[in-house]
Amino acid sequence: MSDEEKFDAIIIGAGPAGCACAYILAREGKNVLVIERGDCPGSKNVTGGRLYTYALELVEPGLYKDAALERQVVREQIMMLSEKQGITIDYYNENLEENTSIPQSFTVLRAKFDQWFADKAEEQGAMIASGIRVDDLLMENDKIVGVKAGEDEMYADIVIAADGVNSLMGQKAGLKEEWNGHEVGVGIKEIIELPQDVINNRFAVGQGEGAARMILGQTGGIQGGGFIYTNKTSVSVGMVVSPAELAKQDKSVADIYQDFKMHPAIQKLISDGTTAEYSAHLVPENGWNSVPKKLYRDGFLMVGDAAGFCINTGTIIRGIDLAIVSGVAAAKAILKESEQPGIQYMKNLEELSLVPTMKLFAGWPQITSIPRMVQKYPDMINETMDFMFKVDGKVPPKMTGALKNIMKSHVSLFELISDGWRGFRAI
């Protein structure tokens, strides 16, 4: 790469945000360079996880049809675990969009998906340079004019930080403060390989169909939760927990995860499987309140996880779709050729519903972080189930009294009211 070369845009990071942005810019004739530190796109990235399809439709209608996706999610599940028991709510819905019959979401593996997406952007004419770490931003008169990678300097009209949750470039640009341990979750995941038919049978899904399961409880009492996503020939099992809460106790997060994985109600879903990969990643968990106050400056925009775009309502976890939407918003802002692409970018984020949606859920981390959510409530619900299904030949206690006692043994009335009030205020 020669020093004089100047691009219309340099994108740091070939994840979904960077690829979406590159795809559109290249399609519209812009000269785009995407710089990826991994060996190949996706090799540094981890998801739970799933992709909500609408976002790919914004990039190019129909694009999802040949995307590297795993299974169409038809079972949405919520599981609550106590030490030995587990209750699962299972909601079946093929989730096809009314007019177009587009499936709402798919499970994904990022090494495959990001590579596919980068290839698509390349087909549109974007240049993808893998195996290069951007070390610094180049500044001239308070404007960001390019990037530095080793000895190489590369220039562009605009630099887009799509460099993920740690966004060291967002920090270098002075826009992003370092996270604190309450704003992020540390995610741990194992990929457990199982034959396709076994997955279909265990999760009661058809060919190409899958399940997504959110799990509360048995995360060592640490705020957060677990998940299971079915891929084509593997199951993703993991958890995301608060590092700030972890630091208050002395069990390693790795050990907490191993115990979680071996819970009898989970272990049976993955038994006879073979672990093929162990991964970890940070997740922006605090929603809108942890998005940097400013996401742009002269010559610079921030997208995706770098911008902190993530929504967790307890039943819905969104990150990849928001990353793609923000990549689209950034590309459209640049294509408008306005004097201030940053302001246009923020307008686009509003119009594409990203900012209003994040604001709507801004208070939700207050609910998902209620301490009793991760142990006392799951325990209470499981004990209630135990009472409701128990037959031992003796005269059972009266229903009302028994339920009241179960409740009392887990939470006080005061705690219940205070959590209820917290939840009410948050939404």
């Binding site: 991994g38 998801t47 990678a149 740690n166 992020v184 540390v186 672990t275």
Partner: protein, 96 residues
């Protein structure tokens, strides 16, 4: 093989790493580190790379780093010089 409780070392053995032997991407400032009494790094690292030595000092091996960044976020004494590994080095997820 069936799924079982596994040690972190075993699990890291399943992952693909290209270790940059000459350039550690995370470097501990021992002077700052020794002043820290909480040592959150011992529990928050998913790869369990931080270990407490007999001398009371943190021992760290960057070779199995999953590059999540949790240690950097949690290090209250700012004792870590934390960068990503140079291009092509570090972990390469085959599934992710």
């Amino acid at each position: 093989m069936t799924v079982k409780k596994q040690q972190t070392d075993e699990l890291l053995g399943l992952d693909k790493f290209a270790v940059d032997e000459d350039n550690p991407h995370v470097v501990i400032d021992k002077e700052k580190c020794i002043k820290c009494t909480e040592k959150p790094c011992l529990v928050v690292c998913p790869a369990k790379l931080y270990k407490l030595g007999q001398d009371g000092q943190i021992q760290f091996d960057y070779a199995g780093c999953l590059e999540c960044g949790t240690c950097r976020v949690m290090c209250s004494h700012k004792a870590l010089d934390w960068k990503y590994p140079q291009g092509t080095f570090g972990v390469s997820f085959r599934f992710g």
